[in-house]
């Protein structure tokens, strides 16, 4: 009898994986299935050029204003002038030369399907592409594109009807250096979106030295062997022309090897500030002085370096009020063996590195993080975290397996416990693909009320992860537009669910790494069937409030009604 009891106990503790039980999938990867077929090309030749492992990104944006998110995917190219794409280590096999591609989402015609409309769009992105930023620069209600490259950047004006025109020269927004992430935001509250472009390193194939790993084998150089070129701030004059205000605005005073940028009102003064994640240099927090200038307060604010005072390899960055205290917190991804950083905003832009207290320390050590964003994947009202990973150093296990591109690492999803900490969700097959992820962008691609994820992989396919679970909770979908019909990037939304539950979100397309996000605000409200009010603080400073905003659907809120 004693033996039988023991056997029963053993049966009860058999893990679910043995019995074949699995938890429901949070995401389903559907890129190829829905026509989003894209393979990134990095031009790798074996000479260990740093740009090969740096790109590229992508954007989710509604270029044709039909109510669903379209997609732009950034492409690499060859790095040396006499190299043919078909002859590199991972030869290009496409029917035409490598080129960034625009995909139209035909969801509103009945089914989630993407169609490649690059050819007819007028977008000719054949440089060595890095990133993409989205913003409506002429207030015509159509989102425009800024493409950052290793080399000359490109500004594409959306003319409507699916057509874009290259206005780089006329707009004065070129930057011929190695640009990475960029952000559109209205720093002077004049109603026009300005542009900050982050630059990485003064790299050329000619000035790239031979670098070595600690085992003496050839390896990629750190960016520090190249000079930091400095970032660039362009002020939108409202007439189609931008003015380079980098020097007068003060953002030329500090240099860094910049990779990530996010803009937000960190000190809650109604003016948008800038945070730049630097690779190997102190991060910068450019506090808006409300007079067209900025001061870097990062060190004093406690957001420049980690808690030990060490600079780390800042890659991607995002901002969100993860702890629900009404302030925007910062999350920065780093290299493997460093830990990612969560800078908690205690108010008035005073930050504390609380990474380990939030449970994000150890999980981040295992991988090299790039794209990242706060989002509420399960619509429970708490902002969760996504991190796209991919090594920049050979992964020994993959080398042993003779993997031809042995940098792959899984991506990570962290669930917000609602108590100031996160728990890594480990059992999701779609996150376990060993790919070299770089960009990551969030948006509700199928308009079903939960946040989907687009991941861009270096030397790999783009992945579209459709959320399978979020809309089991209730949600509020908001599009915040100005009087001109433009998405009001920088607008602050407060969703009053109950007296004690106010959810703060911001309208943005920036953040993450080399990528552009859905400008709409998707707010999970858990089991609540309604919200008391929605308050919006517009970038110009005015505040409006809406009552009776319907849940479980998208609603457009227009400034000034």
């Amino acid at each position: 009898m004693r033996i039988i009891a023991t056997v029963l106990v053993l049966l009860l503790i058999v893990p679910s994986s043995v019995t074949g039980q699995t938890k429901p999938a949070i995401f389903k990867e559907v890129a190829a299935q829905v026509g989003l077929s894209f393979q990134h090309y990095n031009g790798m030749t074996g000479k260990f050029y740093l740009p090969e492992i740096t790109g590229s990104g992508g954007a989710l944006f509604d270029f044709d204003n039909d109510g669903d998110l379209d997609c732009f995917l950034v492409q690499g190219n060859t790095l040396e002038p006499n190299t043919q794409p078909g002859t590199t280590l991972f030869p290009w096999r496409g029917p035409e030369s490598p080129r960034g591609r625009l995909f139209r989402n035909d969801l509103t015609k009945g089914k989630l399907t993407f169609t490649d409309v690059t050819q007819q769009s007028g977008i000719v992105a054949t440089g060595y592409g890095m990133g993409v930023a989205v913003g409506d620069i002429n207030n015509d209600g159509l989102p425009d594109l800024y493409l950052s490259n290793l080399g000359a950047n490109q500004m594409y004006l959306n003319k409507g009807g699916g057509k874009f025109t290259d206005v780089t020269k006329e707009s004065g927004t070129d930057d011929p250096r190695w640009s990475t992430s960029a952000s559109f935001f209205d720093y002077d509250r004049d109603g026009w979106l300005d542009l900050m472009v982050v630059n990485y390193a003064d790299f050329t194939t000619a000035n790239s030295p031979n670098c070595f790993a600690s085992n003496t084998a050839r390896d990629y150089c750190t960016p520090r062997v190249f000079r930091a070129p400095g970032n660039r701030l362009f002020h939108n004059k409202g007439n189609g022309v931008f003015e380079d205000v980098t020097v007068p605005a003060g953002v030329s005073k500090e240099f860094g090897h910049g990779l990530g940028i996010v803009t937000a009102d960190f000190n809650n003064d109604g003016w948008i500030d800038i945070y730049v994640a630097n690779d190997g240099d102190q991060n910068q927090l450019w506090t808006n002085q409300k007079n067209g200038t900025f001061v870097n307060d990062a060190l004093l604010a406690g957001a420049a370096v980690n808690r030990n005072g060490q600079t780390e390899a800042g890659m991607g960055v995002d901002v969100g009020d993860f702890d629900g205290n009404g302030t925007d917190d910062i999350f920065v991804t780093h290299l493997m063996d460093e830990i990612n950083a969560l800078f908690v905003n205690l108010g008035q832009a005073v930050f504390e590195d609380r990474t380990r207290e939030a449970g994000l320390g150890m999980p981040g050590r295992r991988f090299t993080g790039f794209g990242t964003f706060f989002f509420d994947y399960d619509n429970d009202g708490w902002l969760d975290l996504f991190v796209a990973n991919g090594s920049v150093q050979l992964v020994p296990e993959l080398v042993r397996q003779k993997n031809p591109f042995p940098l792959g690492q899984p991506n990570q999803l962290f669930r917000n416990t609602g108590k100031g900490s996160f728990v890594e969700i480990m059992d999701q097959a779609e996150l376990q693909l060993l790919e070299v992820s770089r960009g990551a962008t969030v948006g509700d691609v199928d308009n079903d009320g939960d946040a989907d994820v687009l991941v861009t992989n270096n030397n790999g396919p783009a992945r579209l992860l459709l959320n399978q679970v979020g809309n089991q909770n209730h949600w509020l979908g908001l599009r915040l537009v100005g009087k001109s019909g433009r998405d009001m990037l920088g607008a602050l939304v407060e969703v009053v669910v109950t007296e004690n539950s106010v959810l703060r979100r911001r309208v943005r397309t920036d953040g993450s790494y080399l990528s552009g996000n859905d400008p709409r605000v998707l707010v999970g409200i858990g089991q609540s069937l309604k919200v008391k009010a929605v308050r919006v603080r517009w970038p110009g400073g005015t505040v409006e409030e809406w009552k009776d905003v319907a849940v479980d659907q998208y609603t457009t809120l227009k400034e000034g009604r």
Partner: protein, 389 residues
């Protein structure tokens, strides 16, 4: 007879133990050495061969085999070949479980690669083998700190202080525990104690600044932020430090020299850079670093010699030309300085530091037309120039 029996019993038990421990040994995951430097490949291969011979030889004692595994593990560890190093240390510690070295280095490796559960287990065993090695409780404290297990971290750092009451790393760890708990005054006390023992550890000033910020003392915050730098605190760890001596070539002394230079310990930096030059005489980087350090020490002639040699080795080194030009300019050798600055500018036409110095040297040499042309081209501030007659 009794003695004989005892000896026989001992032999049998040793044999049984030996077979058992050898049976448990893991297969070492040999690293791919095809792309490493020849000297390193030879160094590693030699030890791999020694281990292979020792393993095959039935007469090899457990101790000798453990030593062979341990030595190979150290070489792998020194070159950051983490997985094979771990396999070797694991085998060494299985064969010689009472040998502190292998248990400790295995735990340290686990700590370095973020396998904290294994590292904790290993350090606990290491502590039972040797109580006086202060790096053990400090490492334990650091792991607990990273795991946010603050009470255990505090206990470990306190244990380290019992071994060495002035241990800077233990004080720093306790300061971090206090800062995490927002016990700012206590944090300040420990960080001050750290700096008292390790004044060159200028990174501690950042932690001090954050602690003073917690107390609202903005003046002290600013004062400490102004002093903060990149030199941290580490516990004395002879076993780990010894690994560095196994590395062949220039890179280790270069790295050490850089650290010493950043901490403004110029004499020590020069010594390391000299070692780097000795290890690789045709290293332009080593010579430039030595030159810069010598100029900090006031040895202008020695510095110039190193820069000249660096230019001979690699004529395309902008830094070598620029640094040499600075020395020459300081000695009013303007024409020579100009020649090197022109070389540097030809290599990097957009370098405004070079352009600026070249402009100023051209002015000093009375070569006004060239100076004005350059200043205009590079958008530099125009300096008044008097042509030489």
């Amino acid at each position: 007879m009794k003695n004989f029996l005892a000896i026989v019993f001992l032999l049998i038990s040793t044999t049984v133990y030996s077979q058992s421990s050898r049976k448990d040994l893991v297969a070492v995951r040999l690293p791919d050495l095809t792309s490493v430097e020849k000297s390193v490949r030879e160094q590693v291969t030699e030890l791999q061969d020694s281990l292979a011979s020792a393993s095959k030889n039935p007469a090899t004692t457990e101790t000798a085999l453990a030593e062979a595994y341990g030595k190979l593990g150290q070489i792998y560890h020194a070159y950051s070949l983490i997985e094979p190093a771990r396999d070797c240390y694991l085998n060494a510690s299985l064969l010689a479980p009472k040998d502190f070295r292998w248990t400790y280095l295995l735990a340290k490796l686990d700590q370095q690669k973020g396998s904290f559960d294994d590292a904790l287990r290993g350090f606990r065993i290491a502590r039972s083998l040797r109580q006086d090695y202060v790096a053990v409780p400090v490492n334990l404290g650091n792991i607990y700190l990273e795991l946010n297990r603050l009470d255990e971290a505090k206990a470990s750092f306190s244990a380290a202080l019992e071994l060495d009451k002035n241990n800077a790393a233990a004080h720093y760890g306790l300061g971090q525990v206090a800062l995490s708990s927002r016990s700012y005054a206590e944090a300040i006390r420990h960080f001050e104690a750290t700096l008292a023992q390790a004044p060159s550890a200028n990174r501690v000033h950042y932690s001090l600044a954050m602690a003073y910020r917690g107390l609202g003392d903005l003046e002290k915050v600013k004062a400490h932020l102004a002093q903060q730098g990149s030199v941290g605190v580490r516990v004395a760890d002879p076993l780990l430090d010894a690994l560095q001596n196994l590395i062949e070539g220039e890179r280790l002394p270069l790295a050490r020299g850089k650290l010493a230079f950043e901490a403004k310990r110029y004499a020590e930096a020069a010594e390391e850079f000299r070692k780097a030059v000795a290890a690789k005489p045709d290293s332009a980087i080593a010579r430039i670093n030595l030159g810069v350090t010598l100029s900090q020490l006031g040895d202008v002639e020695g510095a110039a010699e190193q820069f000249e040699e660096a230019i001979r080795i690699e004529p395309g080194r902008v830094n070598a030309h620029y640094n040499l030009a600075i020395l020459l300019a300081d000695q009013n050798k303007h024409e020579q300085a100009i020649a090197h600055l022109q070389s540097a500018l030809a290599l990097d036409p957009n370098d405004t530091s070079v352009g600026s110095l070249l402009g100023s040297e051209l002015v000093k040499a009375g070569r006004c037309r060239e100076a004005i042309e350059l200043q205009r081209r590079l958008n530099l501030k125009l300096i008044e120039c008097h042509p030489k007659e």
